[in-house]
Amino acid sequence: MIRARDLTKYYGPRLAIDHLTFETRKGEIVGFLGPNGAGKTTTMRILTGYMPPSEGDAWIADYHVVDDSLEVRRRVGYLPENIALYDDMTVWDYLAFMGQLRGVPNLEQRIAEVLERVNLVDRAESFIGSLSRGMRQRVGLAQAILHQPQVLILDEPTIGLDPAQRVEVRELIREIGQEHTVMLSTHILSEAQDLCDRVLIINQGRILAEDTPEELELRLRGAQRVRLQVGGEAGAAGLQPILSRLPGVLRVEAVDDQHLEVELAPDAAPSTRPALAQAVLDAGYTLHEMCTASLSLEDIFLQLIREEAASGPAPDAAATPTANEEA
């Protein structure tokens, strides 16, 4: 459905995306995961026909994004990051305007359907300027699905929403994903895990990994980390040499006076954790808390970047079959 080959974009001398190659299938929800400035928005803007790439090609439903830009734009629904809407129009008038531009048949009926879908029927006559952040986002989604596009491109669809609205929008995307191919970007790992069939991890304009969320998690679960909060006059750093000697412990790091992070070997015995606790007590400290340090997106990046650095310039073929062809 979406195909990109060696997609590259320079802003002046700055390289925003660097030879991206990927493909998505029909009816798939693909997540584009990466920190701010990774190149997600740039890639999406190229795919929507907003701007041409500096090098490389991309196709949507077999139409080239530059050569057949209008055909691509007819087939894509787009929700830009922080969507900008005309505040001086009502929801209905805005959707009517966008629908007319896109030549939607039976427009009135379709607008009514879409409003129902995004749960905005009672705000149809409200001015967009008077809507809350979450409602604006839903107007944006309504606009994106109005013409029943084959491909839906959503740039940070849940950014700036409160938790309840976020759940709502995710639910909506999941529903929409049953009929459309969806590509969405996010910097929230759990969101990608929750919604996506497949995740592309992107950093500094390059794809670092491409996998299902489950496999990605498995790969990253290699090392387990435990976070300890301890009390004692000597400070947490005093425990470092003691805990390092325990079997199954790879590394101990004192975060501050009270907190330690302990990295366990992937094959550490289940008894390692009780042993840690006992060692803390035996050393004359008090143990206040012990929990699994969850892997944040940042950790995943650090790990992937470390892996990349370790594997040198050669492609890490097993992990990223399509991403690093040019590395």
Partner: protein, 248 residues
Amino acid sequence: MRAIWIIARREFRRYFTSPVGYLVLFLYLFILGLIVNNSLQQAYAFSLFQGAPPPNSDIIIGPMLTLLVFSIPALTMRLLAGEQAAGTLELLLTAPVRDWELIVGKWLGAFLFVLVLLALTLIYPLALHLLIEPGLDWGPVISGYLGLLLVSAALLALGVAISAMFRNQVAAFAVTLAVFLFLWMVSSLAGAGNPSEGVLRYLDFGNHFYNAFFRGVIDLQGIVYYLSVTAFGLLVGTVIIESRRWRG
């Protein structure tokens, strides 16, 4: 082509849902009214003491060009600069609309508004017609209004192009006005014997109006001039939007 009409209609309506449209309409008609009133009083005074001929449509059509030069930048400043500042341009540029259709649509919307504005000013010639004996000579009125329409088309196209260059509406307004004033005064730069005199006089949009349409002459050279400027402005606007895509 359908897209042009959709965009034009929306832009036209927007002038009536924002203060700018009403402000321009009100100020234009009000200031024109003041000027016409003043001219009438003068003409009345002269006619009492010197038996001068009654005033003609010049006192109305003369100042209308000047007022357009100051009004049109206010009408065009928002057209693309506003979309760029708000970020709404992104969705327009990802809709199945060609860049030139967007530019022409914006221009047409503004042109329709100026049509309404000019139609409303017709109350002044009608009033004058009733005031004087034996009534107004309608020839110069018709050619004058035709000239004003052509001038408006050209100035609006330049305004749209300049609006495409900016994100800031105030900057777009100031630059548009500066360009208009330059094109208005340009023939005064031409001293006698200056080799570029002919070119400078040709560029002056006031010349084509005051030397022909204003005097009741429908001048082909003037029509060609105004239509060329219109096409030039729309082309420049399109090129700017296209280049904006490349720069991202």
